[in-house]
């Protein structure tokens, strides 16, 4: 039987959970031989919403957008370094827009068959307003989703990978 996993996307949002997800994705890529891409979305939709809601001023919106662009560079560089340390090939990419829509778009366009995300909030809210963007992505993507938990165990697996 062929591996059901050929193209993996790991979503990076700058959280520790998403970095753990990247370590797990690297392990999985190594064992399955699947192609791996790390994806970061600069959430300009949220910035626009904050401007419309007048929580942000225009100069604040621009300032935060620059911050997010820098975050994208920093975190994707970090994931590239994690991959390089273990001799694993990874593609990194960023986009701007609505987080869950950009994730769905690229998964459909490029035929990813697995999305890997970091652990979600332990606390459930009764309100849809409190679904975060990663949770929204999990609900709407057309492919299977793997939620990575247990940071310590994942770190051990990652560390045990040969170069």
């Amino acid at each position: 039987m062929n591996s059901p996993i050929k193209k993996i996307m790991v979503y990076i949002d700058g959280s520790e959970q998403s970095i753990t997800a990247a370590q797990y994705a690297l392990c999985l890529s190594k064992f399955t031989g699947a192609d791996l891409m790390a994806f970061y979305v600069i959430n300009t939709k949220a910035l626009d919403d904050l401007l419309k809601a007048r929580i942000f001023l225009k100069e604040e919106q621009m300032d935060y957008e620059r911050d997010l662009e820098e975050d994208a560079r920093r975190y994707l560089n970090h994931v590239r370094e994690l991959a390089r340390n273990k001799g694993i090939t990874i593609e990194t990419r960023s986009a701007m827009g609505n987080v869950h829509r950009e994730i769905v778009k690229i998964i459909k366009e490029e035929g990813f068959d697995l999305l890997i995300i970091g652990e979600l909030s332990h606390i459930r809210s009764r309100r849809d307003e409190f679904y975060d963007e990663t949770e929204r992505a999990m609900r709407v993507v057309p492919c299977s989703v793997l939620i990575v938990k247990d940071e310590d165990s994942v770190w051990e697996h990652y560390e045990s990978l040969g170069k």
């Binding site: 949002d13 700058g14 959280s15 959430n43 949220a46 910035l47 919403d49 904050l50 419309k52 809601a53 007048r54 929580i55 942000f56 001023l57 100069e59 604040e60 935060y64 911050d67 997010l68 975050d71 909030s121 332990h122 606390i123 459930r124 809210s125 009764r126 309100r127 307003e129 409190f130 679904y131 975060d132 963007e133 949770e135």
Partner: protein
Amino acid sequence: MALVDLISSEVVKVPLTSDNKPAVIREMVQILKDSGKIDDFDHVLEAIHKREEMGSTGLECGIAVPHAKTDAVKSLTVAIGISPEGIDFGSLDGKPSQLFFLMLAPPNQSGPHIEALAEIAKLSRSTAFISTLINARSSQEVVELFRED
């Protein structure tokens, strides 16, 4: 990091006792000081005032969202306060603000900061929920309103 993860009874105050903008900002920052979320009260106060000088964060529908980037916190931090009588916060519609979300983020965590603020922006469109929050009688009731039973 979801907004609901940041909310516990220690960072919620019902009711606020201040009756003007500078005082309520101090009272909100004091919530974070008392709950051990910040050490440097004055530094945080200055950051919030600096942002407010650029333009009031008093929105419509009785909500105000004073916020700032500051290295006085190591992670995204929020305080919630409710003033049933309302306080003049220079809001967009000229009405008193009753529900206050004070949010602080370290400079290198803009992503979570923006997502949490965006959740508040979405929340502000839900007038029924806002009304329920404003009528909450205790900090624990506010926490329970945000969480699933």
